[in-house]
Symmetry: C2
Subunit: 251 residues, 2 copies
DNA sequence: TTTGTCCTAAGTGTATACATAATAGGGACG
DNA sequence: CGTCCCTATTATGTATACACTTAGGACAAA
């Protein structure tokens, strides 16, 4: 993002203008630089992003499908307002689909190397949340957590399902890599992480034992952790825009 | 769709070129005019659809999110190959999400007028599948069936969920409005319709009684009807492309 | 002061031109 | 006769020009 365009010409693959516009717009919206409800003027984005209207338009169509903007009836797009109920629904959708993935993984049987990789990710999380390691390195936690979730989805073996889950995880608070933190170093936060990890272990065990229903139920419950975290934060009077969100995302 | 373009100038809203391109491309793909795996050349589509490249490109981005085409690594798009396992997964996803909708409707409580409308739709289906009415008017059945499914989704009261379900229903065989018929007028088909209608009644009753888990489970099972119909058809040696599909879709 | 109308400016939808990358086909050489 | 390379063509990605619609404001009249 802060890379000048020419640096792409050398070492790495030059990202298309469309992709760059999409990523930049996404971070503008999630970062709150573009307010909810605000119209996203194409020409303004041309000035702001340094690409022409065509890639901006393409990016807007993509973002529309990601639920980050919505088409106005008169034409053009506006930043979608993320009302609390819709965010909770998004979390529920993600949990439901990840639950489906876990069940499919259990019923079909997951590839041994995927199981091993998942166990490895969980071991790494264990090291992060080990009591002697406090304060917890949240970046690491989020990172390994994302890896585990990705692996579960991969075990299901369906691109269609993977893409649908990815789509449901785009919303800032709906992603499994998003942690809503009341107080980053509190005992409550620590215990929440421990509980999440316990759920991870249970899901993986259920998948290995071919217990589809159990895997599904536990994965759903796991998603509801994010659900209740967010609800508690909101009940504590925080507004959505002010919430501290740690997000990395290994994708 | 069969309306000439100029009629739009008078009574109804003139459809945008982008939307027209999207609909035409979709029917070309679903209708098999464009073969799976075939590249969708933009210039050829300009000739074929009578719109310029810009709306064709926009339509292709939309169709990519609908899983009907996929982006080629070299650039451009190709018609997505619909392998059997992925279709079954799509049905499972739709069933899972519709199940979530039914549960949410039950737990939140659905608006009385929506309940009444749903019951009305089911009464209309009853009339269609009444024994004296044989042979069954499948167009009517599909129509009222789609209305019922839409109403259940509406009862959940979430635009996000509605859009996600709509997206999952785009694939030709995954829609609730799609009936895979081994033999259109056979006794088996008739009994399958009766069973579906029984499931409809059960779902609606569960929603009214606020029985969320029951509503969800029954809705899932209902979707698996399509699942097993398709599997039986494939087991009978039919190829996907040859299957007779009746699809109307009230949307 | 308020309301209605007209005018200006901005914005989107669409078409098209241009540049670059991929591809297919043919010809030459081994 | 087969294989490899070069070239011509085609396709996409991007930028931009044009037309039409919509929104907003100012001015005049009640």
């Amino acid at each position: 993002m802060d890379l000048p365009a020419r640096s792409a010409a050398k070492g790495e693959r030059a990202a298309s203008q469309t992709l760059r516009a999409q990523l930049m717009l996404r971070s503008l919206i999630i970062g709150g630089k573009l307010r909810p409800g605000e119209r996203v003027s194409e020409l303004q984005m041309v000035d702001r992003l340094g690409v022409s209207r065509t890639p901006v338009r393409a990016a807007l169509i993509h973002l529309e499908h990601e639920n980050l903007v919505e088409a106005l009836p008169t034409g053009g797009y506006a930043v979608k307002e993320l009302a609390e109920p819709e965010i909770l629904v998004s979390i529920e959708i993600r949990g439901t689909l990840e639950g489906l993935a876990a069940r499919m993984a259990a019923e079909r049987g997951a590839a041994p190397q995927l199981i091993a990789a998942a166990r490895e990710a969980l071991d790494l999380i264990d090291a992060v949340v080990e009591p002697v390691a406090r304060p917890v390195n949240l970046e690491h936690y989020v990172n390994y957590n994302a890896r585990f979730h990705d692996l579960i989805v991969e075990m299901a073996g369906s691109d269609t399902l993977a893409r649908q889950i990815e789509r449901a995880s785009v919303l800032p608070f709906a992603s499994p890599s998003a942690l809503v933190l009341l107080e980053p170093d509190s005992v409550e936060t620590y215990q929440a992480l421990l509980m999440s990890q316990l759920q991870h272990r249970t899901v993986l065990a259920a998948v290995e034992l071919r217990q589809g229903t159990r895997a599904e139920a536990m994965m759903r419950e796991h998603a509801r952790t994010a659900h209740s975290n967010l609800q508690r934060a909101l009940a504590a009077g925080r507004k959505l825009a002010e919430l501290a969100v740690v997000e990395l995302g290994g994708r």
